[in-house]
């Protein structure tokens, strides 16, 4: 079991982190959660570890989102903290562009329904149609339809933002 989990860890850790990152949008947190998922798998010894790992990762990410909402009740924003100073250069411009694109994709992803987004992210994490169906409760035959719709809507949402952004820049 441990050997199987170790193999799975080596082959899917990055995919789990990526999957979580697109839900929590924090690289360190995504890695923390991914490691937590694998540690929990050691205790639970699931029959289908791969499907279990993504299912638990999805649950943890969901709880993380809920916690973030509740956290607002308690935490005060430290607006006076000094921002790190950096000198603008070419790599900084690239980074800025990359960050903007990431931001746009995250916003576009948020415009999908929860189910479409889940199916799309699970597919991108390398899960098969039957695995996605098992995790989401959809019929295997419905995964293609859901993916087709999710892809289309993600592109539409992204292109709309891209167009609006360019339009705003030229006006």
């Amino acid at each position: 079991m441990t050997d199987e989990l170790e193999r799975l860890y080596k082959t899917t850790y990055s995919a789990v982190v990526r999957f979580l990152y697109r839900k929590v949008w924090d690289a360190d947190r995504a890695e923390d959660l991914a490691q937590e998922v694998f540690i929990r798998a050691m205790a639970h010894r699931p029959e289908k570890p791969r499907a279990w790992i993504f299912a638990v990762a999805a649950n943890l990410a969901r709880d993380e989102a809920r916690a973030a909402v509740r956290r607002k009740k308690h935490l005060t924003l430290l607006t006076n903290d000094p921002l790190p100073m950096s000198t603008p250069d070419e790599s900084a411009d690239d980074q800025l562009e990359q960050d903007e694109r990431r931001e746009q994709v995250s916003i576009a992803l948020e415009q999908l329904t929860a189910r479409d987004r889940e199916v799309l992210l699970l597919w991108d994490a390398g899960m098969s149609y039957p695995e996605i169906a098992e995790q989401t409760g959809l019929a295997v035959g419905a995964i293609g339809t859901t993916l087709a719709r999710a892809r289309k809507r993600l592109l539409e949402a992204y292109d709309r933002m891209d167009f609006d952004g360019r339009h705003a820049a030229h006006s």
Partner: protein, 347 residues
């Protein structure tokens, strides 16, 4: 395979099946059927190219929405070690706790016997008047005790139970909580058995109420004051404190289910005042601090997040339980807010 749509007398492949085909999610026979059709249908060839382009763009977009750095997987052995440490921490040696309680109870019984004998021999002695002020010990499984164990102090141990149950039993809380008069006597009882100094992290016998802090933070009833190492074991190594300040007292209160206990660590601030760091499930910390703040007892800092609990519900689904830490005490809120940022949780 579903029935393909028909236009101009020729069936075409539905878009979702093209997605499934390109995702390699179809059976071999389905693939053969689609490939045969594609070979003679330009309309479906165009559709396939469009779907392929959509897939490529989606892959590219999702790649852009990925981490800016490559995930750095720690060695698997590190995760195994963390898992084993967690399992070990979960095994609370309640038998040891009970044995310590029994030892301490025995010491108290011996003291009480001597005290009673002295009061009989010397009626009207200070011991008798002191006994008259102290209310009878509550009828609990292990009553409140004062004792000494292996150079560390097990100051007081009361009955332990879930916070929720207590909330519904106000009379029980009133009965179990020591009265102000009893609290006032605690330093005198502690003075009977002075503690050897064994380092700043070791619990020192001192009562919160012995200082000028007023009644201070009171856990609602069933808490236990434990030594540092015991608390370290019970909490799985998550003991909140502010480095550099002497620890005066550690209280632990079990929580419901798999959640780690609620912990209150009292430390002495350089100003001479006591500050208490409370760490536990968010709802319980908030409820505790709100209730006592409403009573005008002290100021409290903002909350800072601490490692969450991972809980398994009745359906076997895991969820995270949010935990927070707050610093309370008779200091200005700004001072407490500064202190809360310096909390150390683990060694």
């Amino acid at each position: 395979m579903t029935e393909w749509t028909s236009t101009v007398g020729m069936r075409h492949i539905p878009e979702d099946e093209l997605h499934a085909y390109l995702d390699q999610a179809l059976s071999r026979s389905q693939c053969v059927e689609i490939e045969c059709h594609l070979a003679r249908c330009r309309h479906c060839q165009r559709s396939r190219d469009e779907v392929a382009a959509v897939r490529d763009r989606i892959t590219s977009l999702l790649a852009a929405a990925s981490l800016s750095r490559r995930p750095s997987a720690p060695p698997f052995t590190e995760l195994v070690a963390r898992h084993e440490a967690r399992v070990a921490a979960a095994r609370i040696d309640w038998g040891r706790v009970a044995r310590r309680g029994a030892l301490a109870a025995g010491l108290v019984a011996a003291l009480a016997t001597g005290w009673l004998g002295r009061s009989l021999l010397f009626p009207g002695s200070p011991a008798e008047s002191l006994a008259a002020e102290v209310p009878a010990a509550p009828e609990t499984k292990s009553s409140s005790v004062t004792g000494l164990d292996a150079g560390r102090q097990l100051v007081a141990m009361s009955d332990v139970g879930p916070l929720e149950r207590l909330a519904n039993e106000p009379d029980e809380i009133e009965r179990v909580l020591p009265t102000p008069a009893a609290r006032a006597e605690q330093p005198r009882a502690a003075a009977v058995m002075p503690a050897p100094a064994t380092g700043t992290l070791t619990l020192q016998v001192a009562s919160f109420e012995a200082s000028d802090e007023g009644p201070g933070l009171t856990l609602p009833g069933l808490s236990q004051t434990v030594d540092w190492y015991q608390a370290y074991s019970v909490t799985g190594g998550n003991l909140p404190r502010i480095d550099g300040l002497p620890v005066v007292d550690v209280q632990v209160q079990p929580t419901v289910g798999d959640a780690r206990p609620l912990v209150v660590v009292a430390q002495q601030h350089p100003s001479g005042r006591l500050i208490k760091t409370i760490e536990g499930p968010e709802e319980q910390v908030s409820a505790l601090v709100d209730a006592q703040q409403n009573a005008g007892r002290f100021n409290a800092s903002t909350a800072t997040l601490t490692p969450p609990d991972y809980l398994v519900d009745a359906n076997g689904r895991t969820r995270r339980g949010l935990r927070v830490a707050m610093v309370t005490g008779g200091l200005p809120a700004d001072t407490l807010n500064a202190l809360v940022k310096t909390i150390t949780l683990r060694d």
